[in-house]
Symmetry: C2
Amino acid sequence: MEIFYKEKTFFTSKDLALSVIGGRWKIAIIWCLLQQSPLRLSEIQKYLADVNQRMLIRQLRELEEDQIITRVVYPVVPPKVEYQLNEIGLLLEPVVTSICNWGDNFREFLEENTDKQSVE
Amino acid sequence: MEIFYKEKTFFTSKDLALSVIGGRWKIAIIWCLLQQSPLRLSEIQKYLADVNQRMLIRQLRELEEDQIITRVVYPVVPPKVEYQLNEIGLLLEPVVTSICNWGDNFREFLEENTDKQSVE
DNA sequence: CCGGATCCGTGTTGATACTG
DNA sequence: CAGTATCAACACGGATCCGG
């Protein structure tokens, strides 16, 4: 079961998945677009305050290349570009949800184990 | 709902989760330890053939710091060190599973859309 | 004005030895 | 076998500039 994609060889579909969603901000971007869609670049920036614009654009381009999201450019002034998940991208919802749920568990775990040391 | 952890502030538990499992090889390592546990370093290296040893050790140390895995050192010669997921780490199983499932979906998607171009 | 591209400094990752 | 050292390559971030 070998998968060739983008000049690389993957031996499990897990590795293929990680190559697509493993980017530094990919999951966060997908989370945004699951909350609301479509979104403009500036709107995603508001959601993800601590991501700089250059990285955001790069990660969006990669997601677009992998056909996870669709980028729609409106030829207007000032420029308007909208991003939204396509079909295969929407199927990432369970991944994002399970991460959010685990995050809740981990937060509770921290609260229990770090006797009220800085979690509130 | 602000979470302070490791001198950083997180505003959602999703961001907290990503800070822990978002490392370059974290998910792959956790996948290994879900397949079989405990595992020695050399065994993890066999599973993750394309990860270099330095990074593997560093990622394992980070997971240990975050209390996701436990590192057991046996004082023998030659050295023997075993890694295994602890309770909160085992709860990551749904995350890994959903990623694997999506990977399967994505692979099928590629097969359909790239008319037998390099997927088999 | 908004999306995005370029320049450049910095931290992270990788390849290949090497040690106990 | 587990882990470290060194150096090169790359990803990332901040600031700035561009084009419509």
